[in-house]
Subunit: 323 residues, 4 copies
Amino acid sequence: MEYRRLGSSGLKLSALSFGAWITFGRQLGRKEARELIACAWDHGVNFFDNAETYAAGEAERVMGDALTDLRLPRDAYCVSSKVYFGASAEPRPTQRGLSRKHVIEACHQALARLRVDYLDLYFCHRPDPETPIEETVRAMDDLIRNGKVLYWGTSEWPAELILRAHAFARAEHLHPPQMEQPEYNLLRRARVEVEYAPLYREIGLGTTTWSPLASGVLSGKYADGVPAGSRLATPGFEWLRERLQGAEGEARLARARRLAELARELGVTSAQLAIAWCLNNAHVSSVILGASRRAQLEENLGALPLAKRLDAATMARIEAAAA
Amino acid sequence: MEYRRLGSSGLKLSALSFGAWITFGRQLGRKEARELIACAWDHGVNFFDNAETYAAGEAERVMGDALTDLRLPRDAYCVSSKVYFGASAEPRPTQRGLSRKHVIEACHQALARLRVDYLDLYFCHRPDPETPIEETVRAMDDLIRNGKVLYWGTSEWPAELILRAHAFARAEHLHPPQMEQPEYNLLRRARVEVEYAPLYREIGLGTTTWSPLASGVLSGKYADGVPAGSRLATPGFEWLRERLQGAEGEARLARARRLAELARELGVTSAQLAIAWCLNNAHVSSVILGASRRAQLEENLGALPLAKRLDAATMARIEAAAA
Amino acid sequence: MEYRRLGSSGLKLSALSFGAWITFGRQLGRKEARELIACAWDHGVNFFDNAETYAAGEAERVMGDALTDLRLPRDAYCVSSKVYFGASAEPRPTQRGLSRKHVIEACHQALARLRVDYLDLYFCHRPDPETPIEETVRAMDDLIRNGKVLYWGTSEWPAELILRAHAFARAEHLHPPQMEQPEYNLLRRARVEVEYAPLYREIGLGTTTWSPLASGVLSGKYADGVPAGSRLATPGFEWLRERLQGAEGEARLARARRLAELARELGVTSAQLAIAWCLNNAHVSSVILGASRRAQLEENLGALPLAKRLDAATMARIEAAAA
Amino acid sequence: MEYRRLGSSGLKLSALSFGAWITFGRQLGRKEARELIACAWDHGVNFFDNAETYAAGEAERVMGDALTDLRLPRDAYCVSSKVYFGASAEPRPTQRGLSRKHVIEACHQALARLRVDYLDLYFCHRPDPETPIEETVRAMDDLIRNGKVLYWGTSEWPAELILRAHAFARAEHLHPPQMEQPEYNLLRRARVEVEYAPLYREIGLGTTTWSPLASGVLSGKYADGVPAGSRLATPGFEWLRERLQGAEGEARLARARRLAELARELGVTSAQLAIAWCLNNAHVSSVILGASRRAQLEENLGALPLAKRLDAATMARIEAAAA
């Protein structure tokens, strides 16, 4: 495994990490989750990503049990949570958002579900237009000073808001945000490559990127339509199904098919190629993988040696295929 | 129920909330209080207001037992306390006021009585001319940083003192006050509408207003004199009885009678009309209701749909009636 | 009892308070100490003064047991400790002074001996030329923020050092010192009346003064020499005995004798007159009394009504007698 | 014993202190370590130095057991730990360095091994080019404010980095670093005497120096080659063996031999002379001794009276011998 600094910070995350999104607490029960975490750990993964909203808190409970069962050394791995959407299907007004009340309560609830004393990373899962950034920054700082959180950051925030949070923290002598968790893949590049570019330089932002396969599109599995039983066929994933429909959807699938051809030519899988491409962006601290089966996880972990092999010419061909 | 932000903060309170003042621990024992809280909760109320001085601490004990019995989810409701008057009939010199000693001790005592780990809202119940504002602001900040309080504010403070507290907090990088709890009703409007006007803009002040019925006067129940058994007839309420005496008192009752006529015309009750009028002030975060019977509480909760129906013309008629 | 603010702070101390110095843990065992504290409490005393060094910690143990036995309400009284001299006859190098290590360790030890969760007042018992003021101020601030201390101050510090501590605290946004504990009596007036004068105005300094009887000299009991069994006859009080020897000592005794004559004329005791004189300085927040017998304590408590009776002319006569 | 302030701080350390490096948890088991600590304590030593990396944590466990067994008064001694290298032979990426995660986790682990509630001194064992100094300074400040550490500092940091850490701490109102732990002996003088010179003046830096005998070279025991069973003959000490090889190594040994001659002439041992020379640098707060036998420790402790006897002429002869 390769380890990278989380932006300018001293925290070293595995370049490939493992997330609970979609799978934990849904397809995956405690036993399966434990096996996948053990597999990732054996391959050197040291960052396990989670959020209050994943399976309405159940993803954190499953991960907490697995981490406890496996007796992983607490100082050798990092675990995250994210606050914003709440941990229930129908959160009440104070059970979501980035108010001091919810940021603090959600942290304590995540600690209980994950069965740890502190979160290594704690993300604001979305901007909250109904809470002043100042209130959220102060709450994060209080959590860090009280030892409940080590590093805090954002997920899917526009660069301008991240800068405002950072500036307020510095002006008030508070712990500034250290990382972002953006979507990043061959089909969605602008934010990580363009919008955040000044932030890497100016505030040392780290990134833990999600959806390297564009929710499975780049794995090639939707090339011939949506298979029954796949994520896209289940309720709650209408947003994803829509991404594949219409002219734009067809264009996306075409790009996925061209990528698959190139992968075949190189003797690797589409998924490996797509992940390896993400890894070759130096501003990516860690690419978060999702997987529901061991074989799939191991396939994806194979992207790391592949990434080291890819030369500039091949990188250009990948980008051309997905353009 | 409608939920409103507490001023500029991210905390969302129900537009109608429920307070323990006067009733809890006096007319109302544990069982009755629990039923009223359950009723309010079922109607969407998420803020329960209290103070150390209400029934000398007994109001908090009653509420704490009720909240515990009902097993309301801690992250779905807000509970407050207020410090200044002390929690006994004859407080000793260090048992009242806004000294660091009393602010901190009163907080811990309220937590024990309310049976919670932290107060969502903690108010300075009056200004204390014998304690420098700086001392109180520092004590509040320490309580917030130590997780004992989420938001702090004031009750019945002149605008100028609120601004001074806010300015000191900002200059010293401390948690600033976020809300005020003023009296607000058709008979007492100036402070909320005029005096505090700059504070909404400049420091994002929220308000949780008390006495929407002017201590019952606007409910019309004193139109024909003080009934035996009513609050005004009991010792300790001389201050209220005086408000209804003399030329000024007569004028007040006349306004209440005109309001009652209008209410009859609109097919609602005086109380509903008076409360609905408060709700239509956008700077009011939450109107605190008191009630000693379920029917009364439900009547008052009916003010919310009414408020949405009131057009500008009717609002003007209400104000004219109470002028 | 009369209660006074501790300088500009909101803390109200009884104008007469009761200290453990010299008596507790020496002449006075647990039973006697408890009775004296009960007596003081019954007369309205709410401040009990102590220090790590009094009887090498035993004075605090005795007081802690007494406060616990008497079940005084924690929010109705104040208890102090002082750090500097250490709590043993032969302190090791890290067991005395105002280093961060000793300030913090001494606080926790005093809390254990006094059997309380926090000290209301915590004094630096002397300046420590071998510790930078900055280190001590930071340690005090950390104790206050962690809830172990409510107010901190100094004892027998020159005005200039108090100002430096205050200035550093304000510059670094730390809790500033609030009070001094100086010796103050008819024979030693300059520091309280002249040296500290600017501090009352500029930083709102409060004072809890010790030795209103100049270690018994003003009680008149040494007028005819040192009685056997009196404090001055016991080892460890050589410093006090010396104060009464030589030309200066004789002058002191002469002043005490003139004061005794005046007291007789006014029909009060020397001690009452000396204490009442202290009380009439508005910058004195509380005069700390020591006593080894109930009768003596009650005599001294009688100084408060006396003080209110003394007119300007009598005050001038007192000062002339002691000049 | 003589006690010295740790730079400008108020902490007083014994001029000679005792370290666990190399010996504890290797040659020395619990019983031997306890006896040596008891011996040092009986001679007035009050500072016991340790680090997470010494014998991979075992040195701290051994010391913690010894301190507990001996029931030394917690406020009379100081114990240290150091963070950077990790506490295992093969630390994982998050188990070493000066990231917030490792600084905080290593502190809690050291507290558990040493069986104390707080570290008196906590050192950054080396600079970490992969962590911004700001992150480490903030983590140290949080540990101090939470009562887990009393003083923090560095070990083997270049002056420029110490100054940067200090400047950042002051600008952000955080606890600044207070001490350095450099190697200092007759063969390695420049850093302590030249590089750090401005730091003593400007930031009041204290120093706890290690290796007064240059890892045994100055004891004279390698004069005739490396004896079997000595440290240099064991695996893991290649770096030390190399220091004695080649032209440079020969020069070192020659200096050691000249020192031995002088020692013989003065009727003391080489080790005593070398240690006494260190003690006579006023900027050295404490010279850390290592020892694996009681006789050796007592011999080394004899350097203190010797140091007081050495006049300027003899100091010059020592320096000439080692030049």
